[in-house]
Symmetry: C2
Subunit: 386 residues, 2 copies
């Protein structure tokens, strides 16, 4: 096991009707900016639940944070924060709204001239404006971690940020929100959480027994509950297991003491930036190619995953490892998620070269578990995903 | 899954040579009381590592906190805290030293007249004196939770306390400390952590899939590493898995959203109070009887444990459940831990009645997963453990 530090101070309030507990979590004298997305929360009742819970608080709203939270929109929200002397942020939404709120938490107290520097200069935030979340879409795990991904359309960039000051003070997780989520987004959430675990688990083996088993636990649980959640989102038991699995998939715990990979995300982000493909679907496109391309390095762990998660007992290490990749693709297909770039766009020719070129132009630190993947290798992986 | 709240703000600093990071975690202007036990840290080098790391801090020492931290000794330490204007506590030890430090954290800021009230009146501590820990013995999980157990010899009482203000600010876990721990204590630690998981897992089934699997992950890991740790405490990989498993066994995570039992601990504490038997060994004595006595209520979960943790595939639910209890006893025996009260004392006759009477005299809230075990039932369980 590698040395590690772990601290996650976010308070989770989990369960049925937990949104009503909101008012206890925010100081009475706070001036709150409530941030949300396209307005679905007004249809499914969550907006009303939040407003009722905060009836005795001072709340201003900012709506319209898009999927893949857009820098230009966030800069409008930042102006509201400054103009209205906001002191507390409340994200009501999925990963995009929460990530956008994290950027605002950092930007509100940022002392530099240009908030974009937080992203391009990778400035860690030690102290942000306090914020909480009401999660409406289980997927990204952003509700219990300190990272965010922000998109800037004008430059087709999608960059990450974070820091110990960007954990939500609290996150409210009511599995009943799942009843109103479209199938497409449920499938995305399942895929996103599943791939998050793979990024932290599918590496060279270092035999950290507990971290491996925790990762496998999340994968097994997602596989079991996925068909139940898609078939009947009102199945509260399945919804609870799904929601808690998504949070545990990326709250820092399973990554501690072990190597991480994250090449699938890095390459996938490019596909979202270039084609606007849903984040989760880009992961399902890239992951199988990534594991095939890096088969030798990952086959031990792929075989362990085959045995423990998919109950594959036949064959040697190579055979089990190959079978595990097939099972993973089949799982995505079962969710209704396509796993080839050509399923999403007819203009895929040249994408591999474009992405390789974009990576080459940036300060290249290497991708993958050893930071050893070159732009040329990425080009191959993307071609395998056509 | 039941509704739950989860917040654990303790910072874990895990790994080889991590004690040297101590000075970054405590304010430079703090006046520190360093608390430890019988002095083994002076033999194994941990004392020197701590003192070197804190060379530029103001540190006073208090030695001699015994196993099952004794109220009278802690009251002496409390006097030092007041007399010397201590502002920060540092526990260097195992669960007993850390638990004692938690009591002092609470008592130092307690506004009542009698600190004993914190225990007998079960007063929750919302804010204690800040403290950190350097863990020298993996076992209790106290390094990452907010609970403590304190003993008072004069009344033969062993009582619990806690509250959100009693999480350590940080805990340093260096698996190398295991190299100097006597076999007896290593076996105790393995048994203690194993039983902690059972208390949170071996209940009626509510099918919280992720919590079940996380609990099973810890049990499987402890079973795998136990012989390695006992055979060669310098096996750093095994030591790391052991140490992290003990922490995860009782940091709150696996208990969230599920029922807990804790009757084994409640009854076991009485055996320690009456006979001075090591805490972990009392758990190994009581657990098998408890599961046999409450077999009908627990057999579904016992059978799941049999299948997933012990790979028992033969037989019906009852047969698997019985086999799982046998496997558990055999595991304790393998560690060198006896599982009958008569193995520890010849004066066991009448113990069941004595414990039942003690429970009857207290305000009886019932024990077990439904708080439905009466003193009479406890009497039966203890008799089965003779």
């Amino acid at each position: 096991m590698n040395n590690f530090e772990f601290k996650n101070p976010t308070k989770i309030i989990f369960g049925k009707d937990s949104i009503s507990k909101l008012s206890n979590e925010i100081p009475k004298d706070a001036k709150i900016l409530m941030l949300y997305g396209g307005g679905s929360i007004k249809k499914n009742g969550i907006y009303d639940q939040v407003k009722t819970a905060l009836a005795n608080h001072d709340v201003i709203e900012f709506a319209g944070i898009p999927a893949n939270p857009e820098y230009a929109v966030l800069m409008e929200a930042l102006k509201v924060i400054k103009d209205e002397n906001i002191s507390y942020l409340l994200a009501v939404g999925g990963g995009s709204v929460i990530d956008g709120t994290k950027f605002l938490s950092a930007a509100a107290l940022f002392e530099g001239n240009n908030p974009w520097d937080i992203l391009v200069k990778n400035i860690k935030t030690d102290k942000g404006m306090p914020f909480g979340t009401v999660l409406t879409l289980p997927a990204t795990g952003s509700e219990m971690n300190s990272g965010a991904v922000i998109t800037r359309k004008e430059t087709k960039e999608k960059l990450t940020m974070g820091g110990p000051g960007l954990f939500p003070e609290f996150s409210i997780l009511d599995p009943q929100v799942i009843t109103s989520i479209p199938q497409r987004q449920l499938a995305n959430g399942l895929t996103d959480a599943f791939t998050h675990v793979l990024e932290q688990y599918m590496t060279y083996p270092i035999n950290a027994r507990l971290q491996d088993r925790f990762a496998e636990s999340i994968l097994q649980t997602l596989i079991e509950v996925a068909p139940k959640v898609l078939k009947d989102p009102t199945n509260y038991k399945a919804a609870s297991d799904f929601m808690w699995s998504c949070t545990m998939a990326l709250n820092g715990l399973i990554q501690k003491g072990v190597p991480g990979d994250w090449a699938v995300h890095a390459i996938g982000h490019e596909l979202t930036a270039l084609f606007g493909i849903d984040h989760a679907r880009t992961l399902a496109v890239i992951a199988p190619s990534h594991y095939k391309f890096n088969f030798e390095a990952k086959k031990e762990k792929l075989a362990q995953y085959a045995e423990r998660v998919w109950n594959i007992t036949e064959g040697n290490t190579d055979a089990k490892a190959h079978a595990a990749i097939e099972k993973t693709e089949a799982f995505f297909h079962q969710l209704g998620i396509d796993t080839k770039l050509s399923d999403y766009t007819k203009d895929y020719e040249g994408t591999a070269e474009t992405i390789s070129k974009r990576f080459t132009e940036r300060q290249w630190l290497g991708l993958g578990e050893h930071k050893s993947l070159s732009p040329d290798m990425v080009e191959e992986i993307v071609k395998m995903a056509y």
